[in-house]
């Protein structure tokens, strides 16, 4: 496969380096996945808790390779007319009208039904040709001339039927349109495909089998500190350390929704806005709603706030 800027994908360290320069700090596993996805020409199925940067990975990859990122957001009821292609019905109708008027000219000289039909046949199926085809994300990705990054977001939200629809695309990089035939990806320009899932339901084995499987867990403290530093560069190192220690401890607690990386970053930004130098219990109490999204979680944490904050302060 030879796509633009593919030297950036030559080994894992290179990938990590390039990601880092774009502000996406990733673990070795993530870089390995991107590396393999490119070299094996396989889609990557990314799973993990919400807010760990699954979607971001695809977007950053697109940015890194300077390729367009085509996104297909999945939802219940998504079907082929929205994901693959649709006929431009309006245009077809309009052309039918035009044809009606000029039919006389076309059939000029033909005598009898058989001859007229023959003459019409010679025009071919113009109404079901590419000109009347409205490509949707999947088809667009296949036809992208410079290759592209295709992000199929939250594939678990779609129906089972849609999953089966994806299989042809994922394993052979082709799509079949009954009226036209099979559309294949341009050789050497296959799109890099990322699928993300939040595990609201099991993805079928058939789909999993065709993908590399990457599980992105919550980062460890060290990685998270680097992420915060990359995203919120103005944060003082001490605060960064306290903040991450605090979040890491929250993740150990029994909460309805534990804070993810995106929340950590939001919180870091909040604290910077408030000109904070160091965590203290009062401040944490006031800003807790940035990292916790359920009232019952807020209550659980508040009762142990003092202890957790002190431990976080000590950790720095």
């Amino acid at each position: 496969m030879a796509i633009k800027n593919d030297d950036k994908l030559k080994d894992i360290e290179a990938i990590r380096g390039h990601f880092e320069s774009l502000g996406y700090i990733c673990s070795v596993e993530i870089a390995t996945a991107v590396f393999l996805a490119y070299h094996l020409e396989k889609p990557v199925l990314i799973e993990g808790p919400p807010g760990v940067g699954k979607t971001e990975l695809a977007k950053t990859t697109g940015e890194m390779l300077d390729l367009p990122c085509i996104r297909l957001q999945c939802y219940e009821g998504l079907d082929e007319s929205k994901a693959i292609y649709e006929w431009k019905y309006g245009k077809q109708l309009l052309y039918t009208q035009v044809l009606k008027e000029t039919l006389g000219e076309i059939l000029d000289g033909a005598t009898g039904l058989a001859e007229s039909v023959d003459k019409l046949h010679s025009f071919g199926d113009i109404f079901f040709s590419e000109e009347f085809l409205e490509p949707r994300p999947l088809l667009k990705a296949l036809k992208a001339e410079e290759s592209c990054v295709l992000l199929i977001d939250e594939v678990d939200k779609s129906d089972h039927e849609f999953e089966s629809l994806l299989l042809e695309m994922l394993s052979d990089y082709q799509l079949s349109i009954p009226e036209i035939g099979t559309v294949k990806a341009i050789p050497g320009k296959k799109p890099l495909v990322f699928l993300t899932s939040n595990n609201t339901r099991e993805i079928s084995d058939a789909l999993k089998r065709r993908c590399l499987h990457l599980y992105i867990p919550f980062p460890d403290a060290d990685l998270e500190r680097r992420i915060v530093r990359a995203r919120v560069p103005e944060i003082p190192p001490k605060l960064n350390q306290q903040l991450v220690a605090f979040i890491q401890e929250l993740r150990e607690m029994d909460l309805k929704k534990v804070p993810a990386i995106s929340e950590t970053i939001d919180w870091a930004r909040t604290l910077i806005l408030l000109h904070t130098e160091s965590l203290d219990p009062d401040l944490v109490r006031q800003t807790l709603n940035v990292i916790l999204k359920f009232q019952e979680d807020v209550e659980t944490v508040q009762s142990e706030l003092q202890g957790v904050t002190n431990r976080a302060l000590k950790a720095s």
């Binding site: 390995t32 070299h39 990557v44 019905y89 109708l93 099991e202 084995d205 089998r209 499987h213």
Partner: protein, 487 residues
């Protein structure tokens, strides 16, 4: 790379016994991955294979333990670390290949060795201490300090001597020797002997190194064999045990097996769920989906004749499960309830009742507490007292019969031993008329269904189906049938 591919196939086998589902297609993918990432960088290899072969967090965990066990290999000695895996993995493949090709032909090993030793004599003339190199295949490999290659070689040798056939602990010594031999122990020994005969200082030094490496290797091989034993003998043991447990009578299961059984029950339920939860039926009635209809009928010039409906319905059976929990059959009910609860994901409408004489609903109890507690509470509340099927049926009619409709399946689990009381089979007849199906599961063998105080003879005509059910196998079959009929 072929031999590494073979080793990979072995590894996939191990993964399968460890409950990681790996399809042949994925095995092929793994081989391709191997060609790309090479084997020199262990953690890279592990990460890569993990992505290709294991597809859920649980599988990833199993993969990690299996990988560590299967490819376990410690360093020879710290001095040899110089030859640690290089960064540029792809290029290193090149010099690995010829080595492996040579060792592939084990028969040719001996003759190849002769030439090797000749070479050894030549180099010994150079007095440079460090340049003296081992000449035998194995010696070279060991002194190169490349753990991954040694490990691959070992795994390959293990495959040749079929170490995965190891069944009992006492075979370990045998297999260790066999593997060492297959790896070219003889060549190494000869070389050591020759070096010692020659007797120069560099030769002695090399001989010493080789001997140390050999002893170390022996330890490693022993370790390897032990791990293989754990991997193969132990895991297949587990499989065997699970198969057995499925067939064993539920009442004979011992308490210590309960955990295993629960696991099996869970697996079975999962299997059934995956088979059945996907069947969907498109509704032919209901609310018209105007948008969808217009859209799909545009191709017919806006003539609406292909109608689309809003809802799709997953048709799942409504199940009512009545369990006899009196002393004699309580063990069986325990498993039926367990099973139905694991199935509750696809059968959201399971209602469970327990009785020995008075009928009580335990659905809510099961929904709220853990399986263990719920079981214990059910037994406590309903488990004592003598069995009275007549009373149970009367209770059923007065409280629950109104909820029974033509989609309901009623499962009764009991031995139908009514202590010579009034069986009231006419009530069961009523249920039979109203419900879609009435299934009676009897843990006793058919021959004793009519013996003594058993009333199966009277109840059986009022059931759509009567089955002997006293093992997990039976249970699985019944539930599978239930789903098939209902969906």
């Amino acid at each position: 790379m072929t031999e590494m591919h073979d080793t990979l196939v072995e590894f996939v086998k191990v993964l399968r016994t460890a409950d990681v589902k790996v399809s042949p297609a994925e095995t092929l993918d793994a081989m391709e991955t191997l060609d790309i990432v090479g084997i020199e960088n262990r953690s890279l290899l592990k990460n890569s294979l993990s992505m290709v072969l294991s597809k859920t967090p649980e599988e990833k965990e199993a993969f990690n333990t299996s990988f560590d066990r299967f490819f376990a290999y410690n360093k020879f000695s710290s001095e040899n670390e110089a030859g640690e895996p290089g960064e540029d993995t792809n290029q290193d493949d090149g010099d690995f290949d010829p080595g492996s090709d040579g060792s592939d032909q084990q028969s040719g090993q001996g003759s190849g060795q002769g030439g090797g030793q000749g070479g050894g004599a030549e180099t010994s003339e150079e007095l440079d201490f460090d340049l003296l190199e081992a000449q035998s295949e194995l010696g070279k490999l060991l002194l190169s300090g490349d753990r991954m290659k040694v490990m691959v070689k070992m795994a390959e040798a293990g495959r040749q001597v079929e170490v995965n056939q190891i069944v009992v602990f006492t075979q370990k010594g045998l297999y260790t020797r066999k593997i060492m031999e297959a790896m070219g122990l003889k060549g190494l020994q000869d070389e050591v002997g020759e070096l010692q005969e020659e007797g120069g200082r560099p030769q002695m030094h090399l001989a010493g190194q080789l001997k140390a490496a050999r002893d170390y290797l022996r330890e490693q091989v022993r370790d390897h064999v032990e791990k293989q034993f754990l991997l193969h003998a132990d895991e297949s043991g587990k499989e065997l045990r699970e198969e057995l447990l499925k067939k064993v009578k539920l009442s004979n299961l011992e308490k210590r097996n309960f955990k295993d059984v629960q696991e099996i029950v869970f697996k079975m339920a999962k299997k059934l769920i995956s088979i059945h939860s996907k069947r969907r039926k498109t509704f032919k009635r209901g609310q018209l989906d105007v948008r969808k209809t217009l859209r799909s009928n545009m191709q017919y010039d806006g003539m609406l004749f292909d109608l689309k409906w809003k809802s799709q319905k997953v048709d799942r059976p409504k199940v009512m499960c009545i369990c006899d929990v009196s002393g004699s059959v309580s063990n069986y009910s325990r498993f039926l309830l367990m099973f139905l609860y694991s199935l509750s994901e696809i059968l959201p409408k399971v209602r469970s009742f327990a009785f020995s004489s008075d009928l009580g609903e335990v659905t809510r109890l099961f929904g709220q507490s853990k399986l263990e507690d719920a079981m214990a509470k059910t037994m406590r509340d309903y488990g004592n007292g003598s069995t009275d099927y007549g009373q149970m049926l009367a209770d059923f009619r007065s409280h629950i019969l109104k909820d029974v409709d033509s989609k309901t399946t009623v499962i009764i689990l009991g031995d139908a031993r009514n202590n010579y009381g009034d069986p009231k089979s006419e009530i069961l007849r009523e249920v039979y008329d109203k419900a879609q199906r009435v299934i009676w599961l009897n843990p006793e063998p058919k021959s004793s269904w009519t013996v003594g105080d058993a009333e199966m003879k009277k109840y059986a005509p009022c059931c759509h189906q009567t089955e002997v059910c006293n093992s997990l196998m039976h249970l699985e079959r019944v539930v599978a049938n239930l789903l098939r009929v209902a969906v």
